[in-house]
Amino acid sequence: MKKRSIVPIIYILFLLLPIYWLVAMSFKTTNEILGGFSLFPQTFTLENYRVIFTDPTWYWGYINSISYVTLNTVISITVALPAAYAFSRYRFLGDKQLFFWLLTNRMAPAAVFALPFFQLYSAVGLFDTYLAVALAHCLFNIPLSVWILEGFMAGVPKELDETAYVDGYSFPRFFVTIFLPSIKAGVGVAAFFCFMFSWVELLLAKTLTAVAAKPIAAIMTKTASSAGYELGLLAAAGTLTIIPGAIVIYFVRNYIAKGFAMGRV
């Protein structure tokens, strides 16, 4: 083992400690958690998980979250692809300004824009639907996707496009069968970022939903306050929120490792 691998190891240990603590708590009873400090669960229990998997309010929270996150990722990538292509290949009126304006949309303090968002989505009749949250999260996911995809596309030589035209490919066919496969790592990375930011965002998701589309993270805060302070249950629910993310990283791990290397991002 080389000496320099010490740094990542220490860093990863630092990252895993709080996560270990959360997972350990999820196997404890609330009384044990509040009773005092213990490094490992003394009375190991699966009761917290049983509650989550049998109570529809809980497990629907996960289904809701996964639904709008998936929808958002699909929408963001679909519209970002042609836009990123335009930015990477063509020069047009106001392109630079537009590119920076897109980026500025991450900067509005969500805390106060939450109320106008509520009014807007109520007015168009989308309140408490997956689509509402999926569309709202486009505000920050589309600009980032365009940015990432543009980086990857700029890395693909323009000769590829020209050769395809000479060979008689139509634009859509060229885009889908030749261009897209050559930037699929970039699509993977952009999809990962969309998933991540939509999965963890709560303020807008909570504001735009009431019952039918309520995200898991919002259910956690509600149930915790009405049933006293069920720390064990809260920890179990928190632990389960890590799992979909971990699965997504597992699938895109090669894109992250190798994929980034292709473009200039």
């Binding site: 042609p82 335009a86 392109d95 490792a257």
Partner: protein, 287 residues
């Protein structure tokens, strides 16, 4: 070279419509609020620029703004160099690469309120792992609900824990894209580790670092959920960052007008600083 093609606008149109729908309409509503006094649901009175004047002469606003700049400054000063250092010492190939990447990305995938809640319990003096260890094993008097400095240390540590990996991932991506030929050339020239870093690695990482720094600036400047769940802005007002103060006004006191005026000023500051960063970091590319 890029070709001039005004029809490219059609490619950008869907993005433009979706983002504009989400950005412009809520923004108009906020502008509307910022110049009005609200009574109940339907009664609005024109107030002009009163809220802006009131806010800009208020000590409370400047204090929250000061705390916000201190927070973001510390975050950037810690996370960017740390992220680069970790990325430099990561393995370049082999089975450990995906393992490292997966483990490092984990904190970013935890919903923000869960992050706040888990750090809150993690640092409690009598039942949390970190709090218990610091107080009862090392004998340090550490309680973030009482001591403002402890609260600040906790908030900064939490953010470093949460987001350094973003810098690591992006910096690492920049590093692995450097062709081996550069390193070989540097070796032949007898370049020191420092000059390899300064003249090869750092310039090659610049585009990805630009994204990393901009993202970290914008997100830390707008941070709300995690510190709110962690400390609620306390003890006292010591960790009341700008966004927390804003929500206290908007929802706690229902001062929609002042809150809207404040968020517009907030937005303008974020925009200005981001634009400065962006221009400074990309100015070489434009020439």
């Amino acid at each position: 070279m890029k070709t001039v093609n005004q029809k490219a606008w059609f490619f950008v149109l869907p993005v433009l419509l979706l983002v504009a729908f989400n950005a412009l309409i809520p923004m108009m509503t906020v502008v509307n609020y910022s110049v009005q006094e609200t009574f109940g649901n339907n009664l609005f009175l024109w107030e002009g620029l009163t809220w802006f004047e009131q806010l800009l002469t208020e000590e409370r606003f400047y204090k929250a703004l000061g705390r916000q700049f201190m927070f973001t400054g510390l975050i950037l000063a810690i996370e960017v160099p740390l992220g680069i250092a970790i990325a430099l010492s990561m393995p370049r190939q082999g089975i450990w690469v995906p393992v490292c990447l997966i483990l490092m990305a984990l904190p970013m995938l935890i919903p923000w309120n869960v992050v706040g809640a888990m750090w809150n319990i993690f640092t409690l003096p009598d039942i949390g792992l970190l709090g218990y260890f610091l107080n009862n094993v090392l004998g340090i008097n550490y309680d973030m609900t009482q001591d403002p400095i402890a609260a600040w240390v906790t908030i900064i540590t939490m953010d470093v824990w949460h987001w350094t990996s973003l810098v690591v991932l992006l910096a690492y991506a920049g590093l692995v894209s450097i062709p081996d030929a550069y390193y070989q050339a540097a070796k032949i020239d007898g370049a020191s580790n420092w000059s390899v870093f300064r003249f090869i690695q750092l310039p090659k990482m610049k585009p990805v670092l630009t994204i990393a720094i901009l993202l970290r600036f914008m997100d830390s400047f707008n941070i709300y959920t995690e510190p709110f769940v962690l400390t609620g802005g306390g003890p006292g007002n010591s960790t009341t960052l700008l966004s927390i103060d804003l929500v206290k006004r908007a929802l706690g006191q229902f001062d929609l007008g002042p809150a809207a005026a404040m968020s517009l000023i907030y937005f303008a500051i974020t925009l200005l600083v981001s634009w400065l960063f962006y221009t400074l970091m990309t100015k070489d590319d434009l020439n």
